[in-house]
């Protein structure tokens, strides 16, 4: 009875300290990686933009070594930077840079999202929020369609030998066809059968990329129960419907969520690809294409980052749903 309780029960300070450590422990490496990426990016901006900067400086009358653009073509970017040290900062202030700085991209992103939203023009044609919303809508329908097809296909494959032998090879072949080649065909064909607008074909392209990871993951998940578990149900004379609902489906839930996270990212990529080659004027894919055609790299980069942020948000939402579901099922620990 002489043991000091203080050594066995953690005090509030120790608990707080542990929480702080685990937060810092989780965030710090991420921040370090982020800092390294941003650092490399900043360093790369100078060599990427130096020719543009020197051309501009020459036109405004500054002394540039070598003097003509043609002569400069013969010289490496590293030498140009060494010979014109005063003009290197110009690389970081181009309107249409080869490679914009992180700051420029962030500025463009803010100007086309937050700033417009503050002005009440979030749904204007120039706003990325509007274009992201267009992309998100198609992604959602494509994800829903692809997930449904993937799960249905997996159930058919697990329960039917014939389907397993006939469907699986086609599913694999379907993913070897470049989606960029397939996307225009899907749009042309759906226009032929009288489908107006781009929403449906985009969702189909999106579903085409999305169903496969769900199919593969769910086949694995539905087959994850071992022989002993299946034998146990057999000793109860359980029907195959009962073994599906009580054993196979719950066993597949962790696999399902892993697949859904890959699937939603694939669905987003599919939608953007569906917006690219088709003359669409709405959506993040269309913004990327238009930015390319009009030579506004900042618009491309801003749209790319908007797409990446969107993907991050979607995957995070699924991650939260996964944690909540597994916890509810008692498998969260």
């Amino acid at each position: 009875m002489t043991a000091a309780p203080a050594t066995t029960t953690p005090g509030p300070f120790r608990t707080a300290g542990r929480a702080l450590r685990s937060t810092v422990g989780g965030t710090l490496p991420v921040l370090v990686v982020l800092a390294v990426i941003v650092g490399i990016w900043y360093a790369a901006v100078a060599p990427m933009n130096i020719r543009l900067a020197l051309d501009q400086a020459e036109r405004s009358g500054a002394t540039v070594v070598p003097e003509t653009p043609i002569a400069r073509q013969e010289v490496s970017v590293w030498r140009l930077m060494a010979q014109n040290p005063d003009l290197v900062p110009q690389s970081y202030a181009q309107d249409r840079p080869r490679l914009p700085t992180p700051g420029q991209v962030a500025g463009e992103l803010w100007a086309t999202t937050g700033e417009m939203a503050l002005e009440g023009r979030a749904m204007s044609r120039r706003s990325l929020i509007f274009h992201a919303w267009v992309t998100l809508r198609s992604t959602f329908w494509g994800f829903l369609l692809g997930t449904t097809l993937g799960i249905a296909g997996a159930i058919a494959i697990v329960y039917s030998r014939v389907v397993n032998l006939s469907l699986m090879p086609w599913a694999i072949i379907s993913q070897t066809i470049p989606i960029v080649a397939l996307a225009p065909m899907i749009i042309v064909l759906s226009a032929q059968v009288g489908i107006e607008g781009r929403g449906v074909p985009k969702a189909i392209i999106s579903a085409y990329l999305c169903y496969f990871p769900v199919l593969v993951g769910m086949v694995k998940g539905l087959r994850s129960p071992g022989t002993a578990q299946l034998d146990l149900l057999k000793t109860y004379s359980a029907s195959s419907l009962q073994s599906f609902w009580k054993l196979r489906l719950p066993s597949s839930v962790p696999y399902l969520f892993a697949s859904l996270k890959i699937g939603i990212a694939a669905a987003l990529v599919g939608t953007i690809v569906g917006e690219l080659p088709t003359g669409a004027i709405r959506g993040l894919g269309a913004r990327i294409l238009i930015g390319d055609q009009f030579g506004t790299p900042l618009a491309i980069w801003a749209a790319l980052f908007a797409a990446a942020i969107l993907a991050g948000v979607l995957v995070t939402l699924l991650d939260v749903a996964q944690r909540a579901t597994l916890k509810r099922m008692g498998m969260g620990r």
Partner: protein
């Protein structure tokens, strides 16, 4: 005890066709198990002890001979819920609480919610897991998980309990305690038990009859009636009778191995 056999095998054969050669898992196995007996099957791996148990459960199809359970074919007996089966791994569903795990067979067999609850409570009490119905499997030790899986096998009142090395993965201290509990459970419920093991002391301690088996082909080499009393404290294992029976089992196992070599 031999009045009406609950399980009766006559000249049972089971041959698995494999790619290189047929495997004789069971050859000419004849055995009759009476109501309320506790029969252990012991032998080295490949002797067909588990296969025989699976035949009784209708999980394997014998290729020759006859086998009846409660006077029916094993398949019919299974549909009539003649037996509960306990596997080596507890195999509890991680997404179900202990109570829900025990209720699994009851759900499948269509018991009412009210009856499910009563039976879950009763069988969990029977295996000493009264307060654990709402816990998840990972919150329980290995021994407790196996007790829950025994409760699951008992939940629907089958009169036969088939156990395939149920305590094989547990440490000796836990195993001793579970052996003791199993005996008292058996005394209280009067079930007929078929018990596969590779532990000689376990077989001798638990059984009214010990069936010694040998591999290649899988067959019965000796059947030993236990002279031990029904009341068996753990220290009965130091008694002379116990050691003599254990000796005979060991001799039977050795004879089977030498014949094979």
């Amino acid at each position: 005890m031999t009045a009406t056999p609950v399980i009766e095998a006559k000249n049972l054969d089971l041959t698995f066709q494999t790619a290189d050669a047929p495997v004789h898992a069971l050859r000419d196995v004849s055995l009759s198990i009476g109501k309320g007996e506790f029969v252990s099957f012991i032998g080295p791996s490949g002797c067909g002890k588990t296969t025989f148990l699976r035949c009784i459960a209708g999980l394997e199809e014998p290729t020759g001979g006859t086998l009846t359970v409660n006077g029916m074919s094993p398949d019919a007996a299974r549909r009539a819920r003649a037996y509960g089966y306990v596997f080596q791994a507890a195999g509890l569903y991680p997404w179900r609480t202990i109570g829900k795990n025990v209720a699994l067979p009851l759900e499948i067999m269509g018991y009412s919610k009210q009856e499910q609850k009563e039976r879950v409570d009763r069988t969990l009490d029977l295996v000493d897991l009264g307060g654990f119905a709402s816990k998840f499997p990972w919150q329980l030790s290995g021994g407790m998980q196996q007790r829950a899986s025994i409760a699951r096998a008992l939940a629907f009142d089958a009169n036969i309990l088939l156990m395939d090395e149920p305590f094989g993965a547990l440490d000796e201290i836990v195993r001793d305690r579970l052996n003791e509990e199993l005996l008292s459970l058996w005394a209280r419920t009067g079930k007929t038990v078929g018990f596969v093991t590779h532990s000689i002391p376990e077989a001798v301690y638990l059984s009214t009859r010990i069936v010694v088996m040998s591999p290649r082909p899988g067959r019965i080499t000796d059947v030993i009636e236990s002279p031990l009393p029904a009341e068996r404290p753990l220290d009965i294992r130091d008694s002379r009778e116990f050691i003599e029976v254990a000796h005979r089992v060991r001799d039977g196992l050795r004879a089977g191995m030498e014949e094979d070599a």
